[in-house]
């Protein structure tokens, strides 16, 4: 295995008198994830793989991993996967989907990958109405490279490259790329979710399922933004990071559907 921290997780059998409420689906490899404690990446991986299992499309799905903290997604997702260059996941996914039109394809990308270096590929894939799902983890920071500013970093938010807080004059505004994408005719379903509470997790899973059903029905491009935390990059405990996210990220990135069934939804927040 490539990742030095990768270890197989132990499987335990259910002790007598207890009931199994969750079992690892075969779509997850069982490798112990390298994500920091409390990080949203792992939860979203799990939801994605549960949906593939429930729809029984493990053998028909190809994933595209980004460059970012989730670069090793293929160590955890037990499906065929391609690792793309930084920002190019939407182009790679386009290549896969166009050559395998009857399969399911998704890309999984962070905010730097999707909304900075890969903006052109992201927008044009959406605009062509590429029939795949993009899962977009917006944690407002570059996790993998050690906490630099992302295009989605909030105004005033401190990162290693905005030590005094992001100021608009130097660095421009937080990039609400999902809203931009929702306006494109090629986008069919655009939603913004989170995974910081059990209720939010359930909603995100529903959204993922819906997006794969749209793909099955060839409806076109779907984008699920998950506003997520980065306890390490934000320098907060997992619990505090979730509170901070609710208070600070959600006003700028309000949760909910931005576009459903090809119809733009009324704007929320700013």
């Amino acid at each position: 295995m490539d990742n030095p921290r990768e270890v197989e997780m132990e499987t335990v059998s259910c002790p007598e008198g207890l009931e199994v409420v969750w079992e690892k689906p075969e779509t997850l490899t069982g490798n112990r994830m390298h994500y920091c404690p409390g990080c949203g990446h792992g939860v979203v991986h799990k939801l994605l793989m549960e949906v593939l299992k429930e729809m029984d499309i493990q053998d028909k799905t190809i994933g595209v991993a980004p460059v970012g903290c989730s670069v090793f997604a293929y160590n955890y997702m037990n499906i065929d996967m391609q690792e793309a260059a930084h920002g190019r996941a939407a182009a790679v996914a386009t290549g896969v989907r166009r050559m395998l039109p009857d399969k399911f394809v998704f890309s999984y990308q962070g905010d730097g990958d999707l909304a900075a270096i890969g903006t052109a590929e992201t927008i044009h894939a959406a605009n062509r109405g590429e029939n795949f799902l993009v899962v977009f983890i917006n944690n407002g920071i570059y996790g993998m490279t050690g906490g630099q500013m992302a295009p989605t970093t909030l105004v005033g938010m401190k990162t290693s490259t905005t030590p005094g807080g992001r100021d608009v004059e130097t660095s421009g505004f937080p990039f609400n790329i999902s809203r931009l994408i929702a306006m494109l005719p090629g986008a069919y379903y655009v939603t913004r979710q989170s995974v910081h509470t059990p209720g939010a997790v359930r909603k995100t899973k529903k959204a993922i399922r819906k997006a794969f059903e749209h793909q099955r029905d060839r409806k076109g491009y779907c984008l699920i933004e998950v506003v997520s935390n980065c306890p390490s990059g934000w320098k907060m405990t997992p619990v505090v990071s979730n509170q901070w996210m609710e208070e600070n990220m959600f006003p700028s990135y309000p949760l909910g559907d931005l576009k459903t069934d090809g119809v733009l939804q009324p704007l929320k927040g700013n």
Binding site: A93, L100, E121, H124
Partner: protein
């Protein structure tokens, strides 16, 4: 997968075509299933021809937002097991270098075509060979080589598509066709051979087509974070390049038997040089032509074999002198190696080349060594 276009072709036929069109037609006949590209002179006819003809015959053909996107779509599509290609010209090929590096490391077979124009920068749309270094020495980051084929006629623009795809599949490596703008634009007779893609395209068990229950998941990646693993991957790649060098060198040799002077040139420059060599022969000068057909792997061996009987070598290029370095490596300092070339999209004439050959045969050393390569000579001498 769509293999509609992968049926055996009818009788080989002969047509008068532009180089770019011949290349595109050959791609369809070679069973190419996907093309992703972005317009740039002097190769846009490839995209245009495939949009028209390729789509009609079942190909996925897309004009996309940039060469960056195009090469990464090639990564995805070829990684999914399809026969896929892209084409561009110099500035676009520069944009693709990151992607080609990833493709080489993930060992994804595909075809990239560079119809070389004059550079650096935006340069000129006229033909040139200034991308030789970029093509043969890697181009992007890291230790890798695409296989590089250099056509010298419209016929070869077609032939090298089949060969390029087959070599790519054989070695799970990108193949690059390095043609110059003139070859793309000129019209010549071309004959399309009998070629049944089904007989040529191997099984691709490594491709990401969806993981069935009974096999491990397939992962295409160039990331190997542990240094030991990365070194192992590099060793494997280097071993593959050694095999390619041992098995796939191709070149053309003309009038070699009694030659004292060897002209070395590729592509269009080789055609011009060929003419000059014939003119020189008519004047009694004992001169030969060596035309590398593969630029990587390079035909060093033929140079090594010939060096003891030569008085000198003349390298004719449409650049500032790039391949001359490989010729110097080949003759190992045994004979003087001289450069003659034109830049900026200007094509040397046979008369100019003849003049250089005559000068070289006159004084035995040629008209002085390529000044900008003096340093290189010293290094070679030290090694010897």
């Amino acid at each position: 997968m769509n293999r509609k276009n992968a049926t055996p072709t009818e009788k080989p036929d002969i047509r008068l075509m532009k180089g770019n069109e011949a290349l595109a037609e050959a791609a369809i006949r070679a069973g190419c299933q996907g093309y992703f590209g972005y317009p740039i002179t002097p190769q846009s006819e490839v995209l245009e021809y495939l949009t028209e003809e390729g789509r009609k015959r079942g190909m996925v053909v897309m004009q996309v937002e940039s060469e960056l996107a195009a090469i990464n779509m090639v990564y995805g599509g070829a990684g999914a097991g399809a026969r896929v290609m892209t084409s561009s010209s110099s500035p676009g090929i520069s944009l693709m270098q990151e992607g080609i590096s990833y493709i080489a490391c993930a060992e994804i077979p595909c075809l990239v075509v560079n119809v070389n124009r004059g550079g650096p920068g935006l340069g000129t749309i006229q033909p040139a060979q200034g991308d030789y270094f970029q093509a043969t020495k890697g181009g992007g980051h890291g230790d890798y080589h695409p296989i590089v084929l250099a056509p010298a006629s419209v016929q070869e623009m077609a032939d090298m598509v089949y060969l390029g795809f087959d070599l790519a599949d054989k070695y799970r490596n990108p193949t690059l066709i390095l043609a110059d703008g003139a070859l793309g634009q000129m019209m010549e007779k071309v004959e399309f051979p009998e070629y049944n893609p089904a007989d040529h395209i191997p099984e691709k068990p490594w491709a990401t087509t969806g993981k069935p229950k009974d096999r491990e998941r397939n992962i295409l990646t160039s990331l190997h974070i542990q240094p030991e693993k990365m070194e192992e991957v590099n060793r494997r790649l280097q071993k593959k390049y050694e095999t390619i060098c041992a098995n796939e060198v191709r070149y053309q040799l003309v009038h070699a038997d009694d030659a004292e002077i060897l002209v070395v040139a590729f592509g269009l420059a080789a055609r011009i040089s060929h003419k000059a060599v014939e003119m020189a022969r008519a004047q009694g000068i004992r001169v030969a032509l060596m035309r590398p057909i593969t630029l990587y792997p390079y035909p060093y061996d033929v140079l090594r074999r010939m060096k003891s009987t030569l008085k000198g070598a003349l390298v004719v290029e449409m650049n500032a002198g790039q391949m001359i370095e490989d010729v110097r490596l080949g003759v190992e300092g045994a004979v003087p190696v001289k450069y003659f070339g034109r830049m900026g999209g200007i094509i040397p004439t046979p008369e100019e080349v003849l003049e250089e050959i005559r000068r070289m045969s006159g004084d035995g050393h040629g008209a002085g060594d390529g000044h900008h390569h003096a340093m290189h000579d010293q290094i070679l001498e030290e090694r010897n």
